[in-house]
């Protein structure tokens, strides 16, 4: 007995050690590969790693505010770094909103609209794709594969394709992120659907309700709070996604941020990061609050 136990533990240990060894080998070879393929090498660049922080630090910290609110800086040297010529959106008379705020608003709106698009399509798809609720198994398979494809399809390709059709800008970003959201939300939704309590559904089936009525009156009320919770989570993710798509031509704050960093405009970059940071923080907090209201603490345990 004791022998068998010892043998088993030693075997387990061997496997663990082998597994970790394999993982470490993969890790170090990947590190080597990444380092080789990179323009600058890790150990060469390491002493200069914090150099990029030095350009981030502005001569005058007030420049950050000035950049954000489009006020001319006294340190103007004629370059775009210190004079902030672009962007005032005059709302009414002399009252203006700095363009950065409008760009941020674009990014957030892209996220909201694309999440809405995702939600509207994902809800019906998820009922078709759920094993227990599907109207037809073949239809289920088709919808499931379709959503998988939408999820895996690189967003930047869709954005690029539609940029060629509707011109570069936020609409292409909405289509790209919206399509991705359909796939991502659809998967989460149908997993919820597969866990519904079937008794309500059976009750309606007993009185002769058709598929739409069953889904509408038996299943939707059960799953809607969880749907909302996931949708709110998706908004957070989509704000980030729309920033990234923005950086490759989808409009909004991402593009401006990319330009600012690649040109080395310290104060502008800090202003933009600050703006982005604040927005993401607000969106996160608001959606967390709303989720708590909708589904209670359960929403938070579910993700853990």
């Amino acid at each position: 007995m004791a022998d068998a136990w010892r043998r088993q533990t030693s075997q387990r240990r061997l496997y663990t050690v082998l597994g970790i060894g394999l993982l470490l080998a993969a890790m170090f070879s990947s590190m080597w590969f990444a380092d080789e393929a990179n323009a600058g090498h890790f150990f060469d660049r390491l002493p200069h790693l914090l150099d990029f922080l030095s350009w981030l630090i502005p001569k005058d910290w007030n420049d950050v505010w000035r950049a954000l609110f489009d006020i001319a800086s006294p340190h103007d040297t004629g370059t775009q770094e210190f004079n902030f010529p672009l962007g005032r959106v005059y709302v009414w008379g002399g009252f203006y909103v700095p363009e950065y705020f409008e760009l941020m608003l674009t990014t957030v709106n892209v996220a909201l609209v694309s999440t809405f698009v995702g939600f509207v399509f994902a809800v019906p798809f998820s009922f078709i794709a759920a094993r227990n609720l599907t109207p037809h198994p073949v239809l289920r398979l088709i919808v499931k594969r379709f959503m998988e494809l939408l999820r895996a399809f690189p967003e930047i390709v869709i954005a690029g394709l539609f940029a060629a059709i509707v011109s570069i800008g936020p609409i292409a970003a909405i289509i790209a992120i919206g399509l991705h959201s359909i796939g991502a939300l659809g998967k989460l939704f149908y997993e919820i659907n597969e866990n519904v309590d079937m008794r309500a559904e059976e009750g309606l089936r007993a009185v002769g309700a058709n598929w739409f009525e069953r889904v509408r009156f038996a299943d939707l009320p059960q799953v809607l709070p969880n749907f909302m919770s996931y949708t709110l989570l998706r908004i957070e993710i989509n704000v980030r996604a729309s920033t990234i798509i923005g950086a490759v031509g989808g409009g909004g704050i991402g593009e401006e941020l990319k330009l600012s960093i690649s040109r080395g405009f310290g104060a502008k970059t800090l202003a933009l990061v600050l703006l982005l940071f604040t927005t993401i923080f607000i969106v996160d907090q608001f959606s967390a609050w709303l989720r708590r209201k909708l589904v209670g603490e359960q929403a938070f345990l579910m993700n853990a």
């Binding site: 990444a34 809405f116 390709v157 982005l276």
Partner: protein, 455 residues
């Protein structure tokens, strides 16, 4: 079941008034939500200027691009103003150096016939006259009066411009006729030169001949075996750039793997100090949690841009960006998993007088390790997708290549090739991660089953 009398109903109503008379905001909540959503969408319509964007968009390009994903075209041009009509092919034609396609026919009487889809869709021309045949109709175009003139009725698939007649024949191609040249576009399904490009000695040879050359042919390039030469020709295919594409794809995979793994390694110990139930110091926990929040919310994109500035463009910058984001994401999920553990095993180990480290190892770890690994696998999966995008801002990998191929608006077949590769990678990794996760959750499941059997 007996039905209730009116009095009973009323008495229930009186006892639970809050159930039957809910506040207005609760009763009309869904209605408000719907109205708000509609209002917002109207605003978005205005904000994005959707009607105008739609008016100015070119939806007719969509099928055009999509056909370019799965097909290629050849565009011979025939100059009519030279003494003799000669076909000319673009410099980088898929036909190679000696294009003599069998669908361009020089007739004995000096005219040319180009078969776009057999004789049913074709064009025959000399210097004075072109005859376009398609859809069962024959359209003669006279070229003698300084501009192309069609005698007789003009079918709807032919457009007459000032100095040009354009005949569209659907997917298979089109013909453009002017007084001094005839331009043909013939479309083929599939990808041209996918294996060998036009410079390769194997180009244009049928598969059987290529195989026999590989197995027993004479050396085509001195000092190099035919197999090595073929491999080199395929890998360095100028048009498809297989070598470059596959290397970039590997970079993307490596970025996701390395970033997630390193993030996990760093987040692992930090999570213990951030979990409220394990760390004794509330301040440390708060500081770490805010640190995680910071790493997460600075966002992969910003980290990627910073690290490309620090390391230069390439997968190292991408890995570092994913690494930093993952410290935040995994740190948060790990510490939440730790906070949700059952305290009893820990107390049990503690009661044996074990020190702090041993308590974690034997009291906590067995419970959380499956959750940790499963979360890490999830992140690995989603980072494999995310790595394509940050590649486009210079963080290495296939993203930039994709973006550049798309911006030229002509290499859609190359775009599709890369998309197929990315899809394959994502599906394979999804399945690996799903498989591993299922294996892990089975152990938890088994544990629960044993527990419930014991009661």
């Amino acid at each position: 079941m007996t039905s209730m009398t009116m009095d009973e109903i009323r008495s229930i109503e009186e006892r639970y008034p809050d159930v039957f008379r809910r506040p207005a905001y609760k009763r009309y909540g869904p209605l408000f939500l719907l109205a708000g959503t509609l209002l917002y969408l109207t605003y978005a319509l205005w904000f994005f200027n959707l009607p105008q964007v739609m008016r100015e968009s070119h939806w007719e390009r969509l099928p055009l691009f999509l056909t370019q994903w799965i097909s290629y075209d050849l565009q011979p041009e025939f100059r009519l103003d030279q003494p003799e009509i000669t076909p000319k092919y673009p410099r980088f034609s898929a036909l190679g150096e000696n294009p003599n396609p069998d669908w361009v026919i020089r007739n004995p009487d000096g005219t040319y016939t180009v078969l776009i889809d057999g004789p049913a869709k074709s064009v025959t021309f000399d210097k004075a006259q072109a005859t376009i045949v398609a859809n069962g109709q024959t359209v003669p175009v006279s070229l003698t009066s300084g501009k192309p003139v069609i005698s007789g009725p003009v079918p709807d698939w032919v457009t007459v411009h000032d100095d040009e007649v354009v005949a569209k024949m659907g997917f298979v191609g089109e013909v453009r006729v002017t007084v001094d040249r005839v331009k043909v576009r013939k479309r083929f399904l599939g990808w041209a030169n996918f294996v060998f490009d036009t410079r390769s000695p194997f180009f244009g040879k049928p598969a059987g001949e290529v195989i026999s050359l590989l197995v027993s042919g004479p050396e085509l390039k001195p000092g190099m075996s035919n197999i090595a030469l073929a491999g080199d020709n395929i890998w360095n295919n100028a048009q498809w750039q297989h070598g470059d594409v596959w290397t970039k794809l590997l970079q993307t995979i490596v970025m996701a793997f390395l970033g997630t793994l390193l993030g996990g390694i760093v987040a692992f110990p930090l999570a213990f100090f951030a979990a409220r139930n394990i760390t004794p110091s509330g301040a440390l926990s708060q500081v770490l949690k805010r640190f995680f929040d910071f790493m997460r919310s600075v966002d992969m994109l910003i980290w990627a841009l910073f690290f490309t500035r620090a390391f230069g463009p390439g997968p190292l910058a991408g890995s570092a960006a994913i690494f930093f984001t993952e410290i935040g994401t995994l740190g948060k999920t790990y510490s939440e998993a730790l906070e949700n553990i059952d305290d009893k095993p820990r107390e049990g180990v503690l009661s044996t007088g074990a020190n702090g480290l041993l308590v974690q190892r034997y009291g906590v770890m067995p419970e959380v390790i499956p959750v940790f690994i499963s979360q890490t696998l999830y992140q690995w999966e989603s980072n494999t997708r995310g790595a394509t995008i940050i590649g486009a801002v210079g963080a290495g990998g296939i993203g930039l290549k994709l973006w550049e191929a798309m911006r030229t608006n002509s290499n859609w077949a190359n775009v599709f090739y890369m998309v197929l590769l990315i899809l394959a990678v994502v599906f394979i990794f999804d399945n690996i991660s799903n498989f591993l996760r299922r294996r892990l959750s089975r152990t938890i499941h088994d544990y629960n089953r044993i527990q419930s059997e014991r009661g």
